[in-house]
């Protein structure tokens, strides 16, 4: 299928990109990985007048740790994360996510920041960013700003990025040795949108109690959600199966999915519960805490 015609801009600097975005406003779309946008354009469901291709912008493909944060530039591809031994060994949650987004070929193009900006209701990265308490760095005519992920993700397909602005970086807190996470996703097959998925991050105190927990669920509501009640239930407690059951139950409670071919609302809600439970068990296991 052939997309509708559009005007193509290929800025060579961030300034140039921002000036295009300022000029064309809502008519323009940023093209990063394009793995959601281009198929939508091929179906002519998306017909942007202008595409601002940021792939030639210098210095946006970095992955670096800085000030206690892992910073991923806007052109970091999912495979950059997936194939990184450092990320695999220390960032369990985002490593898990990087292996199940879309399919292996799509991941070579798809970007982490692009996925967060797209904010698809089934987005994998959004759930992970919520659980890991990520932040987004945004550039615009007014300069730079940083938003915590909960403020950044506004609604399905909507973020706090204003007209003329562009997200340039996502930041994940560097996990310490007592922190681990996991991403549990069920999909009907590789490449399908999740039927339900849960991102979980747990930090333990030296005494084995849970210091902090982050739980995000996706594909089970209008957008990825934080399961705050579950986090509260876990915080300060010794991890037991009972506790995990109680926390997971909170995911079911707040999930509010649409029924579709992937499952009924009832099924998806239950899967939110099961997957949060499984994520917690797996994350704890990675910290050598066996709950069963």
């Amino acid at each position: 299928m052939i997309p509708a015609a559009f005007e193509y801009k290929r800025p060579m600097s961030l300034e140039e990109a921002l000036s295009h975005l300022a000029q064309y406003g809502a008519d323009a779309r940023v093209l990063a990985g394009g793995q959601s946008l281009i198929p939508a354009m091929r179906y002519r469901l998306a017909q942007p007048a202008v595409l601002v291709d940021i792939n030639k912008l210098p210095n946006l493909g970095y992955m670096k740790e800085e000030n206690g944060m892992l910073c991923l530039g806007a052109l970091v591809r999912d495979t950059d994360v997936e194939f990184s031994p450092e990320i695999r060994s220390r960032y369990h949650l985002i490593s898990d996510v990087s292996m199940v987004v879309a399919d292996p070929i799509v991941r070579f193009r798809a970007t982490v920041v692009g996925s967060l900006c797209h904010n698809d209701p089934s987005g994998d990265w959004a759930a992970a960013a919520i659980a890991a308490r990520a932040q987004m760095a945004i550039q615009g005519p007014g300069g730079a700003r940083v938003e915590p992920i909960d403020r950044f993700l506004v609604d399905s397909f909507a973020t706090s990025i204003g007209e003329g602005e562009m997200a340039v970086e996502v930041r994940f807190p560097v996990p310490n040795a007592l922190t681990s996470g996991a991403y549990e996703k069920i999909e009907r097959k590789v490449g399908d949108y999740a039927t339900a998925a849960a991102a979980v991050q747990v930090e333990l105190n030296p005494d084995g109690t849970i210091k902090e927990a982050g739980i995000g669920i996706t594909a089970v509501a209008h957008m990825a959600l934080r399961v705050e009640e579950a986090e509260k239930i876990l915080r300060g407690q010794k991890p037991t199966l009972e506790l995990i059951r109680a926390a997971a139950e909170e995911a079911r409670k707040i999930a509010n999915p649409n029924p579709d071919a992937r499952g009924s609302a009832e099924y998806k809600k239950d899967m939110a519960r099961v997957l949060v439970g499984r994520g917690l068990i797996k994350a704890l296991k990675r910290l050598n805490v066996v709950v069963a």
Binding site: A5, F6, G34, P39, I105, R109
Partner: protein, 162 residues
């Protein structure tokens, strides 16, 4: 728009619309080994290699985005009449039937082996899960990739007698 890119080692200047998909540009340049099978970035029959180590679905990239990049397609795999080990292995292991997915599958496997030269069966199945095949049930494709991995790891010339 005029774009310049390298396809299979030789520089090409192509005239395209911004909306021209890379796969159409490649095919219109006479390299019809790269196929089209869907509109949703699902099937992977259009998979080509971008800059040596990256596999992309060429239906989900605009040709203008390939400006200045290097594309490798199935036609660039053999050296003269010497098949690439993956091509040889797909033949040896009956890793193809109708042949339509084969070019994309070989390109995906080519990139997979660069990132993981000695993959397990599970890793091959995982790594090729962005490419659909309707004929083979994948089993012989997996065997072909295993054979190619072995061939690629053998020192040159030691192939025949070990």
């Amino acid at each position: 728009m005029e774009i310049t890119l390298k396809i299979n080692g030789s520089e090409k200047k192509l005239s395209v619309e911004p909306r021209t998909l890379l796969v159409h540009a490649i095919r219109d340049a006479g390299l019809t080994g790269t196929h089209i099978g869907c509109d949703s970035s699902s099937c992977g029959v259009c998979t080509v290699v971008l800059d040596g180590k990256t596999a992309v679905k060429s239906c989900t990239m605009f040709a203008v985005q390939a400006e200045g990049h290097e594309i490798t397609t199935i036609e660039g795999m053999a050296q003269g009449d010497k098949l690439h080990p993956l091509q040889q292995a797909f033949h040896d292991q009956h890793g193809l039937q109708c042949g339509y997915c084969t070019p994309g599958m070989i390109m995906a496997a080519h990139v997979l082996l660069q990132h993981n030269p000695n993959p397990t069966e599970e890793e091959i199945r995982f790594g090729l899960s962005g490419n659909l095949c309707r004929c083979t049930g994948y089993q012989n494709i997996v065997k072909a990739v295993q054979q190619a991995a072995q061939m690629l790891q053998q020192p040159a010339g030691a192939a025949a007698d070990d």
